[in-house]
């Protein structure tokens, strides 16, 4: 189906884009690329989870948990162990939330995960001794504050997310995940340990978003709950994956680029906060008009072009025979 070359395309593009931007060293483009990479990671993570039928609105919980865990643990156990703590804490939170929401379907699952994200924000404010409360907390600055190295590190995390997403689209996981999504009983009747697989997807997704959140917190070395726990971080991954094309790796990548580009254009043309309305409206139009996302649009175009070439060749063939 897919050739090796198209499989490699996202890796090559990310690598080349990161290296080029680091080389050019223009602050605006580096900041934009960091923004694209972080949202792309959260969107890939959201998509991985959604392949098992778990449509989450709780990404912000893991984003915030990631940044707060790094900030809280770094003074206690050092930087390296604090990063490991991010992975462990996010995996535990994902397991807990996954088990609690196991029997919830679609809408109820989405609402429960949204509630989890909102309650995490409250929890941070309730325990100010640990978290700094609403005043925020200071996580260690990523790569000593050098934006080029920051982009390099976040680019690496994005590559890891892409590799994970691809692995989970392989024959071992994709059919089983889709079967769990369409009819969990059928998956179980085929020998799939449904609960374990759903929790596994939740852990992969939660850890990736947590790591993205920890990177985000480390950009400026300062985090407030209203920044990392906002609903924005819950909706954005969903919007990007839908916009780009679900159940694919390239979709969330294209979606993140398209959304950031749209945001920047809307910001510079309209300005203020009014740009958010336009930007939201465009997302809605895209989701309604192209349910398969950008990837679906490209596939349609490719199919159309293919049919045209096939028709052209047939015509030539006929002319040759004539």
């Amino acid at each position: 189906m897919k050739t090796g070359l198209t499989r490699l395309l996202p890796y090559v593009l990310i690598l080349l884009a990161t290296l080029a931007l680091v080389w050019i060293d223009k602050p605006f483009w580096i900041q934009l690329a960091i923004g694209v990479a972080i949202t792309a990671i959260t969107a890939l993570a959201w998509d991985i989870l959604s392949r098992t039928g778990q449509v989450s609105l709780g990404s912000a919980a893991f984003f915030g948990i990631g940044s707060y865990t790094l900030a809280i643990f770094e003074p206690l156990i050092g930087l390296a162990l604090a990063w490991i703590a991010v992975v462990v804490v996010c995996a535990l939170a994902a397991t807990l939330l996954g088990l609690l929401t196991l029997r919830l379907r679609r809408m109820y699952f989405a609402i429960a995960t949204l509630g989890f994200a909102l309650s995490m924000q409250v929890l941070v404010v309730v325990f100010p001794d640990w978290t700094g409360g609403s005043g925020g907390i200071a996580p260690p600055v990523l790569a000593d504050g050098d934006p080029r190295w920051q982009l390099g590190l976040i680019g690496l995390l994005l590559l890891a997310a892409v590799a994970l997403s691809d692995a989970l689209l392989g024959l071992r996981f994709r059919p089983a995940f889709f079967m769990i999504r369409t009819k969990p009983e059928l998956a179980a009747a085929s020998g799939v340990p449904v609960v374990r697989m759903k929790i596994f997807a939740f852990i992969v997704s939660g850890v990736l978003i947590g790591l993205a959140g920890a990177c985000y917190g480390g950009l400026y070395g300062y985090v407030v709950p209203t920044d990392v726990f906002t609903t924005n971080w819950s909706v954005l991954p969903l919007a990007i994956a839908t916009l780009g094309g679900m159940d694919t790796t390239i979709g969330p990548l294209l979606g993140a680029i398209a959304l950031k580009a749209l945001e920047e254009v809307a910001r510079s043309v309209i300005g203020g906060t009014g740009y958010q309305v336009v930007y939201g409206a465009v997302i809605i139009l895209f989701v309604i008009g192209m349910p398969q996302g950008i990837v679906g649009l490209l596939r349609k175009a490719a199919a159309l072009a293919g049919r045209r070439t096939a028709a052209g060749e047939k015509k030539k063939e006929r002319e040759r025979h004539a």
Partner: protein, 260 residues
């Protein structure tokens, strides 16, 4: 086992029938206060095709759903190969050697036939050497008449092909016992004849089969033995000819008019 009493029209299986492959003892399943199964005890003989019949709401589907691990048991025991599988998870029961089909197979439309079959091949974790002709997805698809559709998307398959795929999926679990839930419902006469042929071929691989079926000609031509449920209780069991001639069965199943 009353072997002489079951001269089914199909050939005798390759493997000798060695007692019960599935035994249900005093099984009770309830939804709230309603007992869907009320103290049912029965056993399925190894190497045979057993028909499970009964009027709507008699508990056939509940029995299949319960023994395959998808409904909680309120009382009683389920034994597979003599081992207790009561309350085990569905995927564990598949691993223990019992697979089932669904009447309405809802497979993801964006998966190909090959991909659907890959799931049980990867996850059911069963020894495939017993079924030499059914070692991989391509062989199983060809066995079930899905060879030309191997790389097609499930969303493009016809109802009949989806039924075949559902049997193929269950076969890919490499079961010792296969439960077929109305595999022929809604099929045309020609198609159901074909599916019956497929079921015979599966049986000749040495797989024991239980079929839930409403069509009497299917039961009489395929089954060695018939089990009849009514109102969640066992009404009768035995050779098809004997059971279908039974007055109580005719009244329960076909209605009083037919029984006269």
């Amino acid at each position: 086992m009353p072997d002489t009493a079951s001269p089914g029209p199909t050939r005798r299986p390759a493997q000798p029938s060695g007692g019960a492959i599935l035994a249900v003892e005093d099984l009770t399943v309830a939804f709230g206060g309603l007992k869907a199964l009320d103290g049912v005890s029965l056993s399925i003989a190894a190497g045979e095709i057993t028909g499970l019949i009964g009027p709507n709401g008699s508990g056939k589907s509940t029995l299949v759903n319960t023994v395959s691990g998808q409904l909680p048991v309120r009382g009683g025991r389920i034994r597979l190969h003599g081992g207790d599988v009561t309350g085990r998870r569905p995927d564990r029961i598949v691993r223990a050697g019992m697979a089932r089909t669904y009447q309405i197979p809802r497979v993801p439309p964006t998966l190909t036939v090959e991909e659907v079959l890959s799931v049980p091949l990867l996850y059911a974790g069963r020894d495939r050497h017993r079924l030499p002709g059914l070692g991989d997805a391509a062989a199983i698809a060809a066995f079930c008449g899905l060879g030309p559709l191997f790389r097609r998307f499930c969303g493009d398959l016809s109802v009949t092909d989806l039924r075949r795929l559902e049997i193929a999926r269950a076969l890919a679990c490499a079961p010792d016992l296969l439960l077929l839930d109305e595999a022929m419902a809604g099929l045309s006469h020609e198609d159901s004849v074909e599916v019956m042929g497929l079921i015979r071929n599966v049986h000749e691989q040495g797989i024991s089969i239980v079929i839930i079926e409403h069509l009497m000609r299917v039961i009489t031509s395929l089954c060695h033995r018939v089990v009849v449920l009514n109102n969640g209780r066992l009404l009768a069991e035995g050779a098809p000819a004997t059971v279908l001639a039974d007055q109580a069965v005719r009244e329960a199943y076909l209605g009083k008019g037919f029984a006269a």
